[in-house]
């Protein structure tokens, strides 16, 4: 087994072994899904149409934005990366293995939701499962890359929570999962378009469900892909081995570059 494979396997097991990771990867997303399926669909039957994509996006955000960055920051603060560095563990592995394992956990839960949304809660299945699958892969990748970037630039557990919630909470409120984009006030819409969940919903609705969308779904796909690649590239570039050694290749503010594709999206939209 290669070192990378062993590292990935360890990170994957950590996602099940660590109680906080287990909560963020499985328990919380599945409990929320069950609650939304049982309650929200009863309150608003129209929600069944978007239950599956909305919950897949939710899973991805919880695992990657709320679950992934914390351990990255804690490991750096605890000097774990110093041990890794002197033993030849590359920075790419340090970022890629937890990100990849979190993505896999998110995909496992997404599959569970995809298999149960219709039989359990009358959720509407996509018209194109192929499009649904690749959009899901794109969404978890982008969320994972954003989570890794937050883990790299956050300096403490407190700032990790703040940065993660800066994306997570608006995504829940105005990210197209609970309230469709076309129902949002015009003044709020540009803010909504800064969120990956908005573009993920537009991509699902337009390409996997064949519905009319506010934004060009292909533009949303391009924005998600660009921001994901940019976020992961920036995470590697800004990666810092050591909390005691503040010398970085770039200022953490460079992470704001990840907003560029979304700003272009607003301009195009």
């Amino acid at each position: 087994m290669t070192a990378f494979a062993y590292h990935f396997l360890f990170e994957f097991k950590t996602g099940l072994r660590n109680s906080t990771a287990l909560l963020m990867n499985y328990l919380f997303p599945l409990a929320f899904y069950a609650m939304m399926g049982l309650i929200m669909v009863k309150i608003n039957p129209g929600f069944a149409n978007v239950l599956l994509p909305a919950m897949v996006i939710f899973v991805s955000l919880v695992s990657n934005l709320l679950g992934l960055p914390g351990p990255l920051v804690e490991s750096r603060e605890a000097g774990i990366y110093r041990s890794f560095k002197i033993n030849g563990v590359p920075a790419l592995s340090i970022l890629a293995t937890p990100t990849l394992s979190t993505i896999i956990h998110a995909l496992i839960v997404s599959i569970l939701i995809a298999l149960t949304a219709r039989p359990l809660f009358d959720g509407v299945n996509p018209t194109s499962w192929g499009a649904f699958v690749w959009i899901t892969l794109l969404v978890v990748f982008t969320s994972g890359a954003l989570g890794a970037l937050i883990g790299v630039i956050a300096t403490s557990s407190r700032s990790t929570v703040l940065l993660s919630q800066l994306i997570f909470l608006p995504s829940m409120l105005i990210g197209g999962m609970m309230i469709p984009l076309d129902l949002l006030p015009a003044s709020v819409r540009p803010v909504s378009m800064l969120l990956p969940s908005t573009h993920a919903m537009q991509a699902y609705l337009g390409l996997a469900y064949g519905q009319a969308t506010v934004l060009d779904p292909w533009v949303s796909v391009a924005i998600l892909l660009a921001s994901g690649l940019l976020a992961f590239g920036l995470a590697i570039y800004l990666f810092n081995w050591d909390s005691r050694n503040r010398v970085r290749r770039g200022h953490p503010a460079l992470a704001l570059l990840v907003l560029v594709p979304y700003l272009i999206g607003i301009f195009l939209g």
């Binding site: 062993y6 660590n18 605890a78 041990s83 002197i86």
Partner: protein
């Protein structure tokens, strides 16, 4: 060999191989306005145990971290087996094994997983026998967070030597270890030395440094103030040997005699204490005197100055300046 402005003690006995494995030249490192290391130079030969001593903040850990490639020096060259630590840190990974002073492992990583994990990155077969040697066999399946501080340090040591590196850097290796494990570690260090492994030992434990090191360098405020074998360093201090004598009739305490080569004398409880520049004549004269007084010797102790005393002498002098 050593920076020109520092005190150099010539080595009287060279190790069997004079190959320079590690060299530090004019190394300087600052943090803002604080000068952590102010231009030091030293070399370490193959198979040598080189002790790096100094009070907190002397620059030991900074020197080691720059040697390990964790930090970059502001100036100077640090080389391990010809590899520039700051320019080619990736090439160091299989050349050095490091037990960091402050480091950690993922809380839920088991001892066995840690050994497999780092062995995989070093592309070597995990040597599980090390776990038994360091008293960790029973903890093989225990997670890192479940280990005591001593066990965590032992694991860190096992990971540092598991890939058989030619150079090992140990930063306070025995801190938090019990007596038995400490002895085991010392024996392990001797074994490694016999296999021509070069060991850099940073420690606050002077007894350990004196016992284990072939040579030591004492750092003070980012500069090497002295270097040499422990015996050479202790010999260059005040040079006084402590002689403690206790006799049945306390005849020595009662007289005001001056004995040969005695520089200082005092009385501590039942002992007459003499500090001698030449212990041979002093001891002979003391014994003759006790005998001449019809007194009977109960205890006689001759102690050469320890590295610790010499270290305190150097650091106290440095603090006073």
């Amino acid at each position: 060999m050593i920076h020109s402005d520092i005190r150099t003690i010539p080595r009287q006995k060279r190790s069997k191989m004079d190959e320079i494995v590690l060299s530090v030249r004019d190394f300087r490192k600052t943090y803002g306005n604080f000068v952590a290391v102010a231009g030091i130079s030293f070399e370490v030969q193959r198979g040598e145990i080189f002790g790096l001593l100094g009070p907190n903040g002397a620059g030991k850990t900074t020197t080691l971290e720059c040697l390990e490639g964790i930090r970059k020096p502001d100036a100077g060259a640090l080389r391990v087996l010809g590899v520039d630590s700051s320019r080619e840190p990736h090439k160091l990974r299989n050349l050095i094994g490091v037990q960091l002073q402050t480091s950690g492992l993922p809380a839920n990583m088991t001892v066995e997983e840690a050994l497999k994990f780092f062995s995989a990155y070093h592309a070597v077969t995990p040597s599980f026998d090390l776990l038994g040697r360091l008293g960790l066999e029973e903890k093989r399946r225990a997670q890192y967070s479940q280990l005591s501080t001593g066990q965590q340090r032992r694991l860190s040591l096992a990971l540092a030597i598991a890939h058989n590196p030619p150079v090992i850097i140990l930063d306070e290796p025995t801190a938090g270890l019990d007596v038995a494990t400490r002895a085991e570690l010392h024996s392990l260090m001797q074994e490694l030395k016999e296999k021509d492994t070069t060991i850099i030992l940073a420690t606050h434990d002077m007894a350990e440094a004196e016992k284990m090191s072939d040579r030591v360098a004492i750092l003070l405020r980012g500069q090497i103030v002295t270097t040499g074998t422990p015996r050479e360093i202790t010999a260059t201090g005040s040079g006084l040997t402590k002689i403690s004598v206790r006799s049945e009739g306390s005849s020595l305490q009662k007289n005001g005699m001056i004995f040969p080569a005695v520089a200082q004398q005092s009385v501590q409880e039942e002992y007459a204490i003499y500090f001698s520049t030449d212990p041979g004549p002093t001891v002979t004269a003391l014994l003759d005197y006790i005998h001449s007084q019809g007194d009977k010797l109960i205890d006689l102790r001759v102690e050469r100055p320890s590295l610790e005393e010499r270290f305190l002498e150097i650091t106290n002098r440095g603090a006073a300046q």
